[in-house]
């Protein structure tokens, strides 16, 4: 088996506040293989975006990585000095943000922003960088790219802007792309196109994708594997097909119930009662215990760690034998 491109081990992120330390991420571990698409799913506040920010080293102050390691192609990157981390961002890990309307600097032409990024990472002349930029815009599906490259962001529609953002994230040919809710802010009609463009381009360059979304539907169509997050922890991780068909964690089972299906068997949409706890009020034991339909004694006192229960599948739930305590 090949080495993973990204390997995250026991990642813990903390925010010191006036009222004590908040743990935003706790013991998060996962791998991403070259060319693989890992979906990361969960409610807002579950720690999906925080995981992405941690990998690329952009956690907002005063947050900090308190524990754990992040390795990119075998090299540890969570403790790199800022100057060297800068060489990782954009060059080896590209990132796509949620809102294309606010991701681009409104005062600079598209050409200026792409050329600047390319030349930061690749030894190209201005002209060569510009030619590369036009090619890239063309590939992400911007019609008449050679002319439109000199437009300002506000002259593009939302979907077109997100294509520009994808071009920007991929312009230095990174090995991993973190896409943080890349279609959430977009019109439903263009969401699928954007995902396709992103997938196609990454497939061409062989880049792996970490796709963060709250939309199980997108994951089902796009991802190879999926990590379900809850309250800053991984609840379950495994191959997409398997998790959808046979979710092990009661929370993921609830989430999978929320995927609308075209098939005839009208399985009832499962609603998960209650809401995810705030970071300052995570209950002892399993964080999901107040909402869990299968809760029992052990869940209230002992916290489960995401543990392998079948090859390639890890679950943090006491319902399964072999699950270890966190």
């Amino acid at each position: 088996m090949a080495d993973p491109i990204l390997s995250v081990r026991d990642l813990t992120v903390e925010f010191p506040t006036r009222h004590g330390i908040l743990t935003a991420l706790s013991g998060v571990s996962f791998d991403i293989m070259p060319g693989e698409v890992l979906g990361v799913v969960g409610e807002s506040g579950a720690g999906k975006s925080m995981t992405g920010s941690a990998v690329i080293g952009l956690i907002d102050r005063p947050g900090r990585i308190a524990k754990g390691e992040i390795h990119l192609q075998g090299e540890r990157i969570d403790n790199l000095p800022e100057e060297r981390m800068r060489g990782v961002r954009g060059k080896r890990i590209g990132m796509i943000f949620q809102d294309p309307l606010t991701s681009l600097n409104p005062l600079y032409r598209i050409s200026e922003q792409i050329v600047e990024t390319i030349r930061t990472h690749l030894p190209l002349s201005k002209e060569a960088a510009r030619a590369k930029a036009v090619g890239l815009l063309d590939r992400v599906g911007i019609p008449d790219a050679a002319r439109r490259i000199d437009d300002y962001p506000h002259q593009f529609s939302g979907g077109m802007r997100q294509r520009v953002v994808i071009a920007l994230a991929l312009c230095a040919e990174p090995d991993l792309v973190i896409a943080d809710e890349p279609t959430t802010a977009l019109d439903v009609s263009v969401q699928a196109q954007i995902i396709d463009v992103m997938k196609e381009l990454c497939a061409e360059t062989g880049a792996a994708i970490m796709l963060i979304t709250h939309d199980m539907g997108v994951i089902a169509e796009t991802a190879d594997r999926v990590a379900v997050m809850y309250a800053g922890r991984i609840a379950e991780i495994g191959p997409v097909r398997a998790v959808i068909k046979d979710a092990k964690h009661p929370y993921s089972a609830g989430l999978m119930g929320a995927i609308p299906r075209m098939s005839a068997d009208l399985e009832r949409l499962v609603q998960i009662p209650g809401a995810m706890p705030r970071l300052s009020a995570i209950p002892p034991g399993c964080p999901f215990n107040p909402r869990c339909p299968h809760v029992f004694d052990r869940c209230l006192t002992h916290r489960p760690a995401a543990s392998e229960i079948e090859p390639g599948r890890r679950v943090a739930c006491w319902l399964y034998p072999g699950v270890q305590e966190a």
Binding site: R86, G90, P106
Partner: protein, 322 residues
């Protein structure tokens, strides 16, 4: 672009008309122009003849139109106090005020933007805290006290710089400048600093808060996630976006600098338009007051117009459809 400028021009003309109306009201109804001109000894019949000759018995609208007509030709009557044409007086004092205002605007802009960027980029450094504390004190210090303090330190105690006047000036024919002689430049230092401090703190606080705001935006995060250098992010992306609102405020402040010069010119006995105005207010020299009002309004309107156009040039979003 053209439509935009025309609309702005129309608004400016409207503002000028309103100010002209106020100036006219001051000119016409504050005190008795005839009594101020000839003194109280003149016979009533003679006063009445003068009144008629000056058109003071015409309908108000006619008088107002005449006032505007005269103003357009730069004609504001004769100063009661100095018995000279007002326009001539103002023009002879103008270079002093403009040189002072320009020098202090430069100081305010350079240090204001510099310190603002510094405090925004290093919000936790003790130097930033010090600068911020000083700026609050700066806002609370009346301009004239700052001037007096500077005079005490640099003129009385140290004896380095002159405490009043413009020093030696060079007559260029249409402009008497103090910028070409050593004593002129030395005389400019203290008043320019005094006048700049208030605007400096204002610009600094504005740049700081705008920059902090911009640094939190998604596009700065995205720029960071693309691995752009800190330098490119701070000074390329963040600063340019910060400067859009800063241009407006700074531009508008430039007008205030000229008006604020009244105080500074008094402290340093600077022979500019401001001290002319203050002396006129003290003795109710109405023609000078009215003319100064029109002059300041013109300065403001012109600056406003330039700022709007600059805004247009910097921010591409305004160019389309705006």
């Amino acid at each position: 672009m053209l439509a935009f400028i025309i609309r702005r021009l129309a608004q400016s003309v409207l503002v000028m008309l309103v100010v002209a109306l106020i100036a006219f009201a001051v000119f016409r109804y504050v005190g008795d122009p005839i009594a101020s001109m000839v003194g109280v000894d003149t016979r009533l019949a003679d006063q009445e003849i003068m009144r008629e000759r000056l058109g003071l018995n015409d309908p108000v609208v006619v008088q107002f139109l005449r006032f505007i007509g005269n103003a357009l030709q730069g004609e504001f009557g004769i100063s009661y106090r100095l018995q000279q044409p007002v326009t001539e007086l103002i023009l002879s004092r103008l270079p002093a005020t403009i040189e002072l205002a320009f020098a202090s605007a430069m100081i305010a802009l350079i240090f204001g933007v510099g310190l603002g960027v510094f405090t925004a980029l290093k919000p936790r450094s003790p130097a930033s805290a010090l600068v911020m504390a000083l700026s609050l004190i700066g806002v609370s210090l009346p301009t004239f006290l700052i001037g007096i303090g500077l005079i005490y330190i640099f003129s009385v105690e140290l004896g380095w710089l002159p405490s009043f006047g413009r020093g030696q000036v060079v007559d260029l024919g249409w402009w008497r400048t103090g910028l070409l002689t050593e004593s002129g430049l030395k005389s400019l230092i203290l008043p320019a600093i005094t006048l700049s401090l208030f605007q400096l703190t204002l610009i600094m606080r504005l740049v700081r808060s705008e920059m902090l705001e911009v640094l939190r935006t998604e596009y700065i995060r995205f720029a960071r996630a693309r691995g752009l250098s800190q330098r490119a992010i701070n000074f390329g992306h963040a600063l340019k976006n910060t400067l859009v609102p800063v241009i407006t405020i700074t531009g508008l402040q430039l007008g205030s600098v000229i008006a604020f010069a009244i105080v500074t010119e008094t402290v340093f006995q600077w022979p500019g338009v401001g001290s002319l105005f203050i002396n006129s207010v003290q003795v109710v020299d109405v023609p000078v007051m009215a003319a100064y009002l029109m002059f300041i309004a013109l300065v403001f309107v012109v600056i406003n117009l330039i700022v709007d156009i600059l805004y247009y040039v910097v921010d591409p979003r305004l160019r389309v459809g705006g």
